[in-house]
Assembly symmetry: D2
């Protein structure tokens, strides 16, 4: 594909924003055109404003770029990725959508809006069907909102989907061991996390218990009918840099044995795999057979951080099966998920360049009109 | 009580052995008389052999003591604590019991023997009733075996006991986050645990699923009838020094609300509390109401490491209730539990000094006879 | 001594303030009467405002105490300890001194004032001679300022003092490995410190290079003539909770061998030891002979955190000698040093209760007059 | 270059051996043909024997390969890399050299042999001149020994070389903060390293004080005349996975200012850079100007782990200059250094395939003769 999209990263200076920038470096379709930040960051160079946290070098192309304010008029892009803090993201994202920008967001506020897809492109690709209704209802022209799930949910639901397809999932009990980078920046003080486990993350259990139902639900006319499954989540913060490990047990609707479960997980592929999208892992789930895997440090970068690694699949004395899963929280659980979502939207014709829109419609899209 | 017991610590050089020594320093009843070690350690000073790992100083009285071989003839004591590695403890402990020594053991091999109490003195104090039958069956004279549970089990079952008494516990799902010190020494290599979580500990899930049934069971004639409860355990090793955190959910037989659960836990006391034994915590369970407690580093030393701290008590969408608990794995989960067990045995007249035995029986106990 | 002093802790909610509270619990002379905090903390209970970080329980007596504003009129005390943040401490401390309160401070701003003692009571006890001149010059009545050094300096200078006395210290090269708790709260984000070393702490090298000269200097008339020694400091933050480790090499003015150096360190005692002050360690320096000590986790609580532990004393191919030292940064390096300073001031008659002042002078001290 | 070399990795199962395997995956010239291990490993699949520790996946091509015994007869290769443990490497490496194999070794025993190059190809490329004399003296035919320095030395000497060339280095004081992976496997127990710093690594200070003199020395006839510089090394183990950070201060023979020092470091290139060898970093030293860099986690993978990162260059109150450097201990400090050395030996015509040797000499090289 020779089409190139200009993309903006909203909230580009934090850990998720940095991960967007890192993953978009050398992306075949998307080119970062604008980086936005908060009031303190705007006007400074990205190098100064961001405090680069990742082990790969800060991309030279971004280092000296001036951070812009987070408002539509400051952005030159075909669409935007939102790495905004969930406390402020809600109205800002709406403002961008209203201004004509498709907003592919990692933030929480719109995830539960009935007309906004909560999308993992290789789990519920069909949920993009909500977009047309959303635009109609909200009066958006070319803009719209698409969200991806919470980082822990992203891992869990990727493992639930193949099992729900194959056997039906009735109940899930999950205990998480989550990484420091999941808390944003500055996040958890080091004195609170060294030699410690903290059994609490604000709002996280709620997200884990609600989001999977929507993601595994069915598009019914103009809304999602949530899947009926009970989820019990207990979350913990552990002293690791990246990677959320989850101990899962679950009850299935149909009979299965552990080999069936492993096979369903290992063989699962979805539309992004079939379409060979650039960020799609070959398999969304990698099944390990060793007795002590997945491990956070060793497995978080599997398939470039885009695969969920599952191991220790075995029966459960209370529910039916247990396993351990690992998800890279800022890649598959955040920036990588958004990017794969955007690729899927391109594939479905739902993301077009402004030039394409202009050519097709004969009129200038709102984002180009300069009226804002 | 002015009686003083001479005690030996078998396997005194490892982390649990060191904890025994630390906790026995200044104990009102027990005085460490002999420290034993493996073949490499025997004959060296304790300072040289042990590689002291604890934050308090190596007791001066122990530093220059010569480590003895782990055999009855090398030990001068009224009874022995066993901190032996579970791989070798089985036959050695029997040898000591046969030689006339009560063996209060933290090791695993005899925990599941039907005639050996698996004792936490403030959870199942009545299980000491097995000792007489054990001596009869095995032909022990003054010696016998008493074990305490696995470190993770010790935490879990302390929280289950008050609930089982009050409401009946039917099913328990537990996910642990266990400390490095639980693996003994050298234990887990640092390169395996830094920035990592390992979702596997050999034999640990089996212990957690089996031991509570015996501990919560009833003495029936000369054996324990295990409690009927289903347990699902998933264990993880996390990079903390001390303290096992456990995310628990459970199903009760009787109706209760979260306040009932909290009250049952907070108000629980048992025989060692009533008897004011020196190592008994004022309350076996401390209930915290903050939303983010217990935390490993902050709460592991509650009541000197002898209390289990429970927090985040709330209902569960799948079973009935959930909570988080913390147990200090080498104190309440190991050496401290053994010491409290020994205090309870003293209180029950089941531990006597060799002088007392001699005075009462008019004959020299085997351990004094020099025949071994 | 049956005299009891009422003391306030200024800035009581942070890590150093908490350490003051912990160390003053059960202090034989000092009783915490007032806890102050910032605007956000004032009016809340200490339990809510502080977010207790220490492994020992929050003292019950403090938990429900209302945090007061940090101004003289809100404080009921014979003197105050200052755990204020160095960014704000300067003028606030002066305000308290002017209002009649002796201010025993751990904060940085007044350390370099020529008329303010930079005091470690068992290193430079004679520097209290500056106080009279300070009061005269600044027009303070009963109030004055006494500071203690930076946490890293406290460790270093305690080891330098015995060597300077015995042989003269000419040059010192020191590289530190400092704990998270040294950065205050929230301090360093966990994502910045897990699996990482940061070779920079703002202003820390400057303090380490300047403060020892003043501390080792001589009182000349009404000022300190700094000791002449060159110091090169390189500081690093490492992922440990408490305890600053320092690799030191130094050049002496007189000939010595390693045994001489060890002996001078091990035998050093000063006025607070001779006076058996409650917080004085038996020996300010503990010398270890093992090849791998001191270690941060194992040795930081030596003598309750009030001794500096030195090991690996050996010759240096460039300067004369090298050794490794460890100081507990929030005890000997902060709150403990202040408390020992206060004890020394009591001993020297420089701290008196308000009743004593009133009785002696026949007039009400400023701090009681209610004029502020 | 279309020539392909078959290479064996001796001691392939440990951390350094694994790093060799990882770095040789997709190498343009070298192809791993044989993996050897200890007696316990031999005969097992590499996957089973190795316990893969790295974050990238175990190369599929190696996973099922059978680990061979570490003896010449079991190896099919043009030359061998040695990742053997230093305790056993000495005689085994000689045996391989005698059998005709060039041995490119990361192990310590032969580093100080006068006729063995202690080589960092972009620091002292000319030291390969020792090889001919070595072969003559020892009676080796096609085999020989080449070593690379200790991991900490590799970092230090890479930064010293440009300064020695430009200004002459007279004295160096270095304090290291070294990673867990530097201790091999299992290495340091986690209970010894969590929340701790250990100020001792056996033999490490000796290596750091001796090796740079040889590396910076001159080839004189058939031996190296060591450079005259005094080195004082103090080493510490800190809780990080990979990356050795070093706080350095040094005295130069010629006048310079900090900008000169930075420029000399940043501009340094050597033969491997000029020859564009596949593993040569573009610049051996990367100079950072931020006040808080290099940091272990953020900078260890600079230039794929093959560059040394230097920051905080500033004057020193005692010697002349100070800076902080970071070296990836298992890449530039071990396997990567060996591989670059081998590439340089190829470039110099000192490594040839067995076919080339046979063709040139008309006789079968010893390693092909089957006589062993």
């Amino acid at each position: 594909m020779s089409r190139r999209f200009k993309v903006a990263i909203l909230g580009a200076t934090g850990p998720v924003g940095q991960r967007f920038l890192q993953l978009l470096e050398n992306h075949p379709w998307f080119e970062t055109s604008t980086l936005t930040g908060s009031g303190q960051s705007a006007g400074r160079s990205y190098r100064d404003a961001a405090g680069w946290l990742l082990e790969t070098p800060l991309p030279e192309s971004a280092a000296n770029r001036v951070v812009r304010e987070t408002r539509p008029g400051a952005v030159d892009a075909d669409f935007v990725f939102s790495a905004l803090d969930s406390n402020v993201a809600g109205p800002i994202e709406e403002e961008f959508a209203r201004a004509g920008f498709p907003v592919i967001s990692n933030a929480a506020p719109h995830r539960t809006d009935p007309d906004v897809p909560l999308l993992l492109a290789d789990v519920n690709p069909g949920h993009v069907a909500l977009i047309a209704e959303q635009q109609r209802r909200r009066g958006y022209s070319t803009g719209y909102l698409v969200t991806n799930p919470n980082c822990s949910t992203a891992g869990l639901v990727t493992a639930l989907k193949p099992l729900d397809d194959a056997f039906g999932v009735e109940a899930v009990s999950v205990v998480t061991m989550q990484a420091a980078s999941g808390a944003g920046y500055p996040g958890v003080p080091s004195i609170d996390l060294l030699d410690n486990v903290i059994p609490f993350i604000a709002n996280e259990e709620e997200k884990l218990e609600i989001e999977p139902g929507k993601i595994l639900g069915r598009v019914q006319a103009d809304a999602i009918e949530p899947a009926r499954l009970a989820i019990s989540a207990q979350v913990n913060r552990v002293p690791v840099v990246d990677g959320h490990l989850e101990s899962v047990s679950l009850k299935l609707r149909a009979k299965a044995n552990a080999a069936d479960v492993a096979q369903a997980l290992a063989e699962y592929v979805s539309e992004p795999q079939l379409a060979a999208l650039p960020s799609a892992p070959e398999r969304p789930v990698i099944v390990r057979s060793e007795r002590d895997r997945p491990q956070t440090r060793l497995d978080r970068m599997a398939a470039g951080g885009m695969a969920v690694v599952v191991g220790r699949i075995r029966s459960c004395p209370i529910l039916d099966f247990r396993f351990t899963l690992l998800v890279h929280n800022t890649i598959r659980g955040a920036a990588g998920a958004s990017i794969l979502n955007a690729e899927w939207l391109v594939k479905k014709g739902l993301l077009r360049t402004r030039e394409e829109i202009r050519a097709e419609s004969g009129k200038t899209p709102a984002v180009l009109s300069g009226s804002h």
